[in-house]
């Protein structure tokens, strides 16, 4: 649905709910689904990449083979907590969204 905006009228959409543009899930903001936000302690992170591998939404940023210090893609993170669960060093804490102002 991502090529539509929240003010798109019903008659402006493709009938049947089809998405004619392929590969556009990246445009869909699911941050509103999240109740807990993953916060990684980069001091403790050993760059094992488990969080990057296991994240079902490709929401762990990885550059040059490293996640340390690269942060989390908070537009696509749904807060499932898998990254925190698989982290062998327990570096990722799931913090309630209510504790953030942004």
């Amino acid at each position: 649905m991502s090529h539509y905006k929240l003010d798109t009228k019903w008659h402006e959409m493709v009938s049947g709910g089809y998405i004619p543009q392929a590969g556009n899930a990246v445009e869909y903001d699911v941050s509103g689904w999240r109740t807990d936000r993953p916060v990684r302690d980069d001091e403790c992170c050993i760059d094992c990449l488990f969080c990057w591998v296991y994240c079902p939404d490709n929401a762990v940023h990885c550059e040059g083979g490293s996640v340390t210090g690269k942060g989390i893609d908070l537009v696509h993170c749904k807060g499932c907590g898998i990254c925190a669960a698989v982290c062998p060093k327990d570096c990722i804490e799931m913090v309630p969204e209510s504790e953030f102002e942004d």
């Binding site: 539509y4 959409m13 089809y18 543009q21």
Partner: protein, 405 residues
């Protein structure tokens, strides 16, 4: 040359399917199945059609495969009944929501329990909100004609909806009548070749169907789906006229029989309308101004047209071959009276529930309904708005205190 042949409803439907020559038929013969798919499967085995026949493992899978084949871009047909339709339930909504013009013959039969394989309209009436066009046939010829028209209606570009072509179990499906079978070429010309709008097999233009669609867009898509039924109504009228021009049999949203000057009338679907025509003739011979409105199209429901056709009556009986348990009468009654109310037409109406599980309805019983209507017309309102026709019951006079339903 067209040929006139004795055929039963099932064979007539299979014959129409052979002539239409669909790309895919995916079917599973759950009890109670009919000879439609069996006969058509023989055509496939004999090489008389090009159809890819998919033998699936359930009716749920059958409709899933049909919907998927239609999404791929094929012309798809299937046939079912009763419990088979019920097992398709989840997918029926998806077929319509995805705007796939799958054509499904439904031989109307009762739903369990108890176990019954005979005619009533419980199966398709239950599916009335799924988004499918529903067309009902009175006899074998109409079953054949409707199926051919269903293809043209469902596939029209501004419609693109699935169609249920319905015929009464046993009363039509297993009854032999003389059928005019049109030329193969003429039928194929009439339905034309299918032009899918967004075939999934068009790999140069990939798209996604059936994605997650939540509170932010789902409602808009449903509103868009709602807009398809007005063009569908017009398509049914247009295709019916075109069918008349080509084959000489005319079809519309409903048939008015002796209704012009009628004072009392029955509204009915399916084979009962044929019996009711005889009853109308008997009553007309006595000077009773009786009429009949045979509804052909239940979805999209022609509310305004129906109300206009019925508005001059002094009393009307709406006959349901299905019950909506705990509801305001049968489904047809609820919709017809609603249409009358919205149109401001104050016609006293009674609901006659009849024929459940294949119970026959005789001409005398229909004449009795007209007799009741004469009383209702005289009194201006019914003392008993709901009647069960042909059910063994206690004596009304003797048990007046109990006759409250």
């Amino acid at each position: 040359m067209p040929q006139v042949k004795p055929m039963e409803g099932n064979q007539a439907v299979a014959e129409a399917m052979r002539q239409i020559n669909p790309d895919v038929v995916a079917a599973y013969p759950i009890t109670p199945s009919t000879e439609v798919v069996q006969t058509f499967a023989q055509f496939v085995a004999d090489g008389e059609v090009d159809t890819n026949f998919v033998a699936v493992e359930s009716e749920h899978s059958a409709m899933s495969a049909c919907t998927a084949a239609a999404a791929a871009g094929g012309r798809v047909m299937n046939a079912t009944s009763s419990a088979g339709l019920a097992l398709m339930w989840e997918i029926l909504y998806i077929t319509a929501s995805l705007r796939m013009p799958v054509i499904l013959t439904v031989v109307n039969r009762a739903l369990s329990g108890n176990l019954n394989i005979h005619c009533d309209h419980s199966d398709t009436m239950g599916a009335r909100d799924a988004g499918w066009i529903q067309i009902y046939a009175e006899n074998v010829q109409e079953s054949y004609d409707n199926l051919i028209q269903a293809v043209a209606i469902g596939e029209q570009m501004d419609v693109r909806l699935p169609v249920m072509s319905c015929l009464d179990g046993f009363l039509v499906s297993h009854s032999y009548e003389l059928l005019q079978v049109e030329d193969d070429e003429a039928v194929r010309d009439f339905v034309g070749s299918y032009q899918p709008r967004y075939p999934l097999l068009d790999v140069a233009n990939p798209l996604t169907m059936g994605p997650l669609d939540l509170y932010d867009f789902y409602f808009e898509h449903k509103r868009d789906q709602w807009a398809a039924y007005e063009p569908a109504k017009q398509a049914i009228i247009d295709v019916g006229q075109r069918f008349d021009e080509q084959f000489g049999r005319s079809y519309g949203l409903f048939e008015e029989y002796q209704l012009d000057d009628a004072e009392i009338a029955i509204v009915a679907l399916g084979s009962m309308a044929g019996t009711a025509k005889d009853a109308v003739e008997s009553l007309r011979a006595e000077g009773v101004k009786a009429g009949l409105l045979k509804l052909r199209v239940f979805r999209p429901f022609p509310a305004e047209e129906l109300a206009a056709a019925l508005s001059g009556l002094e009393a009307v009986a709406i006959c349901d071959r299905a019950a909506s348990y705990g509801g305001a009468g049968g489904p047809l009654y609820a919709e017809v009276t609603s249409a009358l109310y919205v149109a401001g037409a104050s016609v006293p109406a009674i609901n006659c529930i009849y024929g459940l599980g294949g119970r026959q309805i005789a001409p005398d019983e229909i004449i009795n309904i007209y007799r009741d209507l004469e009383r209702v017309a005289e009194e201006g309102q019914p003392d008993q708005p709901l009647e069960f026709i042909g059910v063994r019951s206690f004596d009304k006079e003797e048990h007046a205190d109990k006759y409250a339903f």
